[in-house]
Amino acid sequence: MTGLFYALLSLGGFALLAGVVLAIAQQVFHVEGDPMVDKVDNLLPQTQCGQCGYPGCKPYATAVAALEAEVNHCVPGGERTMLAIADLMGVEPKAVEQEAAAPMLAFVREDECIGCTLCIKACPVDAIIGAPKQYHTILADHCTGCELCVEPCPVDCIDMLVKPELIEHWSWPLPKTRRSQLGHERREHHAGHA
């Protein structure tokens, strides 16, 4: 009889203790709101290009967080972004349909520009400056290469150029040793199959 009593007492006591700890933990680690949209948005490259079918990065992030959109629609983000989002959302990664191209930059051929301001209105990050009837210029430092300005231009004076590679931004590639290449191939293989 006393054995049963001790068993009940210890189990009950343990349950109580666990309950108290959980209650405290809930208070301490309380999370406000749904940060998922911001977290997804943080992973996106913010080109605002709309290639995902949504009007910008934030709307796409909202759709992904609400499980309305797949994780693989961000073209400029490429595979790395897809994997990061899939990891964050805890869903299966999906192959990226379109290869991410080299980073591009829009460039206005100024002598052909008629100053119509249409591209200015199209630019999602306000990276084009100019006034009506004056040449427009694209701020290379702010251009995300989204190509949204190319379409509206009535005289086709905007070119997409490959972003020049700066020596300061050059970084070492992986060593070309067999061991490092094998490991790299294995990772690619896993990522592709996942």
Partner: protein, 520 residues
């Protein structure tokens, strides 16, 4: 001796401080006894727009301009930057991109000067003989305008370090004459041949940072340099509180942080500078250049270069004009056929492998080594699996665990690598040197650091784009509201007129664009 016992002994004051780890690579200082000689003027000089750590310069000259030796030909843009000077007199023949000594093999805009052989100097910079009576701020400006950057190899603009900050007073100036890289002997020769100029440079530094105390650190493999400096020191009547300290040879003793610890027992906290522990560290070459800039009024247009290596017919220590093509220097020392020869810019431990000799000598060129293919490749044999022997950990002067870090970098676990202090790696190469599996550890670290930097850049760009995009959305929203408000007010006063709204509505957008422009 076991590291722990050594640490204990150092703490108890029983033993001099000495940095952790380190290795004893074969010295190969075959050019140590060769007196320096001037390298003849090359017919062409190539001056890259950036030879220092920091922002690149912009050219002040045009093709066809005639320039004098020491004339400023490119001005610095930004604070962390120093100008470029013409190394000799002649005509600017081209301004275009040209390869610089860089592992990528990439080039940057460079000014080509065809020398006229006169070597006529621009004497617009006045020599300062009475520097003791001068305001340190003016001397600092002199260091900047003469293009001084750390000649030990890091080429950090010198004037930035030569600052008096009342919060961090400099107690001791450390003069770095360690030169721990194998093969290199340029600092060695400078100390033997120009001891007095170096000491005057040191005196100028001490005057600038207002301290009487300095340590001149030399490794014990250069007794003649230590003797020359000591003799010159004894002959002077100033510099009473300056000591010559001879340290046992160990790589990487010449690394600033390690040297400061060995000499003073102080550690420079991570992310801080030597001045935060009251120390200023200068290389002997830079110190002599400061002497030349101040006392002689000469901008930095020449430096000492060790030309050596096991494939070098005539090793030498040359005083080379900056901008001289390396191929020209090699040819003068008898090396013209580069078949089966690998060229290194700098020493073997930290220097860069160059793809070809068609790059100019720059401010960071402390050595040019020509190595035989076979001896060079023996250091780059096939990488094998890590057997976790821990030799890398023992050799690491920064206290890192290189084998774990390399695994993390190799598998792109960059967050983890950062938490294992990847950025405290000084890339000295001691770990790779001792690795029995021939793992290119430093290469992995460079890869990891590069990837992290790129991710940060992308993150920063994305963040900026988001801010701009949100600002734009907000502006459009405000315009819409303003339009709606106006429409309702218009409707109240003139109910029928509505079609004229779209044209003026775009005006606020334009004006805000213009504001944006003026801000940019």
């Amino acid at each position: 001796m076991p590291a722990m016992l050594r640490n204990l002994a150092q703490r108890l004051g029983m033993m001099a401080h000495s940095f952790d780890g380190g290795i004893h690579p074969a010295q190969h200082k075959i050019s140590a006894a060769l007196a320096s000689e001037p390298c003849p003027l090359s017919p062409i000089h190539i001056l890259p727009m950036k030879m220092h750590i920091g922002a690149p310069c912009t050219s002040l000259v045009a093709v066809g301009d005639y320039v004098l030796r020491g004339q400023k030909i490119a001005k610095s843009e930004g604070y962390v930057s120093v100008p470029v000077h013409a190394p000799t007199s002649g005509r600017v023949v081209r301004i275009e991109e040209y390869a610089i000594p860089h592992p990528s093999g990439m080039g940057i805009p460079s000014i080509f000067i065809e020398s006229d052989g006169d070597d006529a100097a621009d004497d617009s910079i006045e020599p300062i003989s009475d520097w003791r009576g001068m305001d340190p701020a003016l001397l600092r400006e002199r260091a900047r305008m003469c293009g001084l950057a750390g000649l030990g190899g890091a080429v950090f603009p010198t004037f930035i370090k030569l600052v008096q900050d009342s919060r961090f007073p400099i107690e001791t100036v450390v003069l770095n004459g360690i030169e721990c890289e194998p093969w290199l002997t340029n600092d060695h020769r400078l100390m033997v041949e120009y001891a007095d100029e170096i000491l005057t440079g040191l005196a100028i530094i001490m005057h600038m940072v207002k301290t009487d105390s300095a340590i001149i650190a030399i490794e014990d493999n250069k007794p003649d340099a230590a003797k020359a400096i000591q003799l010159a020191l004894d002959a002077r009547d100033d510099l009473d509180d300056v000591r010559v300290v001879v340290l046992p040879t160990r790589y990487p003793q010449g690394s600033e942080k390690q040297l400061i610890y060995s000499l003073t027992g102080r550690e420079v906290p991570a992310g801080k500078l030597p001045m935060h522990v009251g120390v200023l560290c200068q290389n002997v070459g830079t110190t002599r250049a400061l002497y030349q800039a101040v006392v002689l009024g000469q901008p930095l247009t020449e430096r000492m270069v060790s030309v050596s290596g096991d494939a070098m017919p005539r090793p030498a220590n040359l005083r080379v004009r900056i901008g001289t093509p390396m191929r020209y220097v090699f040819a003068r020392q008898g090396l013209e056929d580069f078949d089966g020869v690998r060229i290194l810019h700098g020493g073997p431990m930290m220097g860069e492998l160059l793809r070809h000799p068609d790059v100019p000598v720059v401010k960071s060129t402390n050595g040019m080594l020509a190595m035989r293919e076979a001896s060079f490749m023996s250091a780059h044999t096939q990488e094998q699996a890590c057997i976790r022997c821990g030799h890398c950990s023992e050799a690491c002067p920064a206290g890192l665990v290189p084998n774990l870090l390399a695994d993390q970098c190799r598998s792109d676990q960059f967050d983890k690598a950062e938490s294992y202090n990847l950025f405290d790696c000084i890339e000295c190469g001691a770990c790779s040197y001792v690795c029995p599996s021939n793992i290119p550890l430093v290469h992995y670290f460079r890869y990891g650091k590069g990837q992290i930097a790129q991710q940060r850049r992308e993150k920063g760009f994305a963040e900026a784009s988001r801010v701009r995009s949100e600002a734009r959305d907000m502006r459009i929203e405000q315009e819409k509201q303003a339009r709606a408000a106006r429409r309702s007010s218009v409707r109240k006063t003139h109910p029928p007129k509505v079609e004229a709204e779209s044209a003026p509505a775009s005006e606020p957008a334009e004006s805000s664009k213009m504001e944006q422009e003026s801000k940019d």
